[in-house]
């Protein structure tokens, strides 16, 4: 069975094109997370699937049916909003029942579905309350419940966790993952929080400026970011980017020289990399470790002790900065002269256009 298909979808507000000719196929039962910075068009995309925003051009298909011109209510989707959008003057029960009553679901069936959803979401004690009498987390569960009772073809989530405090956000994240596992429905989840994206997604779409920069599983995107934008957006701390000069290849693998003179051999096929002479090296903190005897040297400027690991911000001889990872109990201190050991395989190269090159996966 099909999930959601977007074919050549374009959205323009006046002369401004927000989303241009976008194709996306979401499989049934998939948990697709759309991740991107604010203003990248991810919410607009979700609202076009919901029918809240008309499509300028292209087609939206749901379960194989063209729904581009259908009203939101007729599409068979349910949406959870960022600010919950609960009806303030209705009780939780009526909030859940409203949509079903509007389409003439039998009262006994409404009762059954609400009791079922209330049980799953632990809302039973609150059914007679009004939204104002609930906490933020409870309201969010009601909003999710309102979507669940409709038994929709697809769930759409528009940054639903961003109004919750950090602890509750992490818990609700787990609850959502559990809910998806239980219902096995198609879910599309929009967020700018990469931790949410990485933990929830079966597939992840990273959006930037109205385009999908990369679509893949979270680990694919983490290990093999398609562009410099994706590489910089995914991962905490952000990937280090250092300008490098290209050196003659060794055994077919690209070799680069940092501005401080350090020469690094990569595992990237030199022939794959374009003709650019000036490249950018991308390396995550976890792939650079402090090693006393290493050739590359620098001076630590800031030490971040995160408990499970230590991050060292190191200034190289040429003045560029990079974040390296050290053991959680590392004795490193600010101002220390340290050596930096680079892992070879997780190095990435980016050309001037931002395209990424990685070591072949098979190794």
């Amino acid at each position: 069975m099909h999930g959601i298909e977007l074919v050549g979808v374009t959205k323009r507000f006046g002369s401004v094109e927000v989303i241009g000719n976008l194709d996306l196929q979401i499989d049934a039962g998939e948990f697709l997370v759309i991740l991107g910075p604010s203003g990248c068009g991810k919410s607009t995309l979700l609202r076009m699937i919901a029918g809240l925003e008309p499509v300028t051009a292209g087609e939206v298909r749901l379960a194989g049916r063209d729904v581009t011109q259908l009203r939101p209510g007729a599409r068979g989707v349910a949406m959870v909003f960022q600010h919950y959008a609960l009806y303030p003057h209705m009780t939780v029960y009526d909030n859940l029942a409203f949509g079903m009553r509007n389409v003439g679901v039998a009262a006994s069936e409404i009762e059954r579905r609400i009791q079922e959803a209330a049980r799953i979401l632990e809302l039973e004690p609150y059914l007679a309350r009004k939204p104002a009498q609930l906490s933020g987390g409870q309201r969010q569960r009601v909003a999710i419940g309102r979507a669940v009772v409709k038994e929709p073809l697809a769930f759409l989530f528009d940054e639903p966790l961003s109004n919750l405090d950090a602890g509750l956000r992490a818990r609700t994240r787990v609850e959502l993952a559990r809910l998806h596992h239980r219902l096995k429905s198609t879910m599309v989840f929009v967020t700018h929080d990469q931790a949410e994206a990485m933990t929830l997604a079966t597939r992840l779409a990273v959006m930037n400026r109205g385009r999908i920069e990369q679509l893949g599983t979270p680990m694919e995107i983490y290990r093999q970011p398609a562009t410099r934008f994706v590489a910089g957006f995914i991962g905490t701390p952000a990937m280090n980017f250092l300008p490098v000069d290209r050196m003659p290849a060794v055994n077919g693998d690209a070799v680069v020289k940092l501005r401080d003179g350090t020469v690094l051999a990569t595992a990237i096929r030199d022939a794959d990399v374009g003709a650019d002479e000036a490249l950018t090296l991308g390396v995550r903190a976890e792939s650079v470790t402090l090693a006393g005897a290493a050739a590359a040297r620098g001076r630590t400027e800031v030490i971040e002790r995160l408990g499970d690991r230590t991050l060292a911000h190191v200034v190289l001889a040429d003045g560029s900065t990079l974040v390296a990872q050290a053991h959680r109990d590392s004795p490193v201190a600010v101002g220390d002269d340290v050596g930096l050991a680079f892992e070879t395989t997780p190095l990435h190269l980016f050309d001037a256009a931002g395209r990424a090159y990685h070591a072949p996966v098979s190794r």
Partner: protein, 319 residues
């Protein structure tokens, strides 16, 4: 001034503070001391409020208990005589009835028409903005201008109505001189004149309703009528109450329109309480009697508002 009893924790807290904090505290006046100086901030308001509202109100009550005649220069205590006399005064009772009928005629129209206009004009675009300005613009006009315009419209032989009527083959009528109709015409003119305020209040209320609620309702397959009844109306409950209270207070004070259109006629059929007060006080100089009738108006307005609040609260309690 006595210092209010503090909970034990609040009393104990300063002792636990570091020394410099304690020192700073001692430099500040102790609680309850010199607080009167803070009263200066509210003094301007308080003075005006006392002089222009409280004093006249109390003076009015006191005056209503006296036979005060400005022309003769006499004033003596009369107890409830003025009120008893009012109760027997058919002109006054007629004025009370007229005012009540007027309030009942206009207030629902203000609510329904104001809401309808707000719903129709609550959209972006130049046309809606222009219409909003026009509807509100009429409220800015002076009552003299408004009544002049309408008197021209209703002129017996050359007015717009007369011409229209003749065009339809009828005999021209003068609605202001028909006993059962004159007050209704005053009501229509009043609505035409001041519909802008309730419209604006409803517009403000509508814009307070989050757009997400409507989107959620759209996803919940609610049609336009269902959305209006289930989302818009309940969200506007407070605005409706506000408009009712404001309009009851305003329309009970009917005067200018009547004064310039009908002078209370024909046969006292459009004479409101305020006109009665004015005539007794400043035409016949019976200020005690006028004050008593003004107190009746005040009480009526109060009852009207309390009734409205009671109904609103009852509706909120019942499911």
């Amino acid at each position: 001034m006595t210092v209010p009893a503090l909970p034990p924790t609040a009393v104990a807290a300063p002792a636990a503070r570091p020394a410099h904090a304690v020192q700073r505290l001692t430099e500040l006046p102790a609680p309850g001391e010199q607080r009167w100086a803070n009263g200066l901030f509210v003094a301007p308001f308080l003075v005006i409020y006392l002089l222009l509202l409280v004093v006249p109100l109390v003076y009015g009550w006191w005056l209503s208990l006296r036979h005060a005649d400005l022309l003769a220069g006499t004033s003596r205590f009369a107890g409830l005589d003025n009120y008893i006399e009012l109760w027997r005064d058919s002109i006054f009772l007629g004025a009370v009835r007229n005012t009540g009928v007027f309030v009942v005629m206009t207030t629902p129209v203000f609510v329904i028409l104001g809401l309808a206009l707000a719903l129709a004009l609550n959209r972006p675009g130049l046309l809606a903005a222009a219409l909003r300005a026009i509807f509100f613009g009429a409220s800015v006009l002076s009552v003299t201008v408004v009544t002049l315009v309408w008197r021209l419209v209703m002129m017996p032989d050359r007015g717009l109505f007369a011409n229209l009527w003749r065009g339809l083959g009828g005999e021209p009528v003068q609605p202001l001189s028909i006993e059962g109709l004159s007050l209704a015409v005053v009501a229509a003119v009043t609505v035409w004149w001041t519909i802008g305020l309730p419209m604006m209040l409803f517009l403000a209320g509508l814009q307070q309703i989050p757009r997400e609620l409507y989107e959620a309702a759209a996803l919940d397959s609610a049609g336009r009528w269902r959305t209006f009844v289930a989302i818009t109306l309940p969200s506007l409950k407070r605005t409706v109450a506000l408009v009712i209270v404001i309009e009851v207070v305003l329309q009970f004070q009917l005067f200018g329109q009547v004064w310039f259109l009908t002078l209370g006629g024909p046969n006292n059929s459009s004479r409101p309480i305020v006109q009665f007060v004015y005539e007794k006080g400043f035409r016949e100089w019976q200020v005690g009697y006028a004050a008593a009738s003004a107190q009746v108006l005040f009480t009526l307005m109060l009852v009207g508002i309390l009734l409205q609040m009671w109904i609103a609260r009852r509706r909120e309690v019942s499911p």
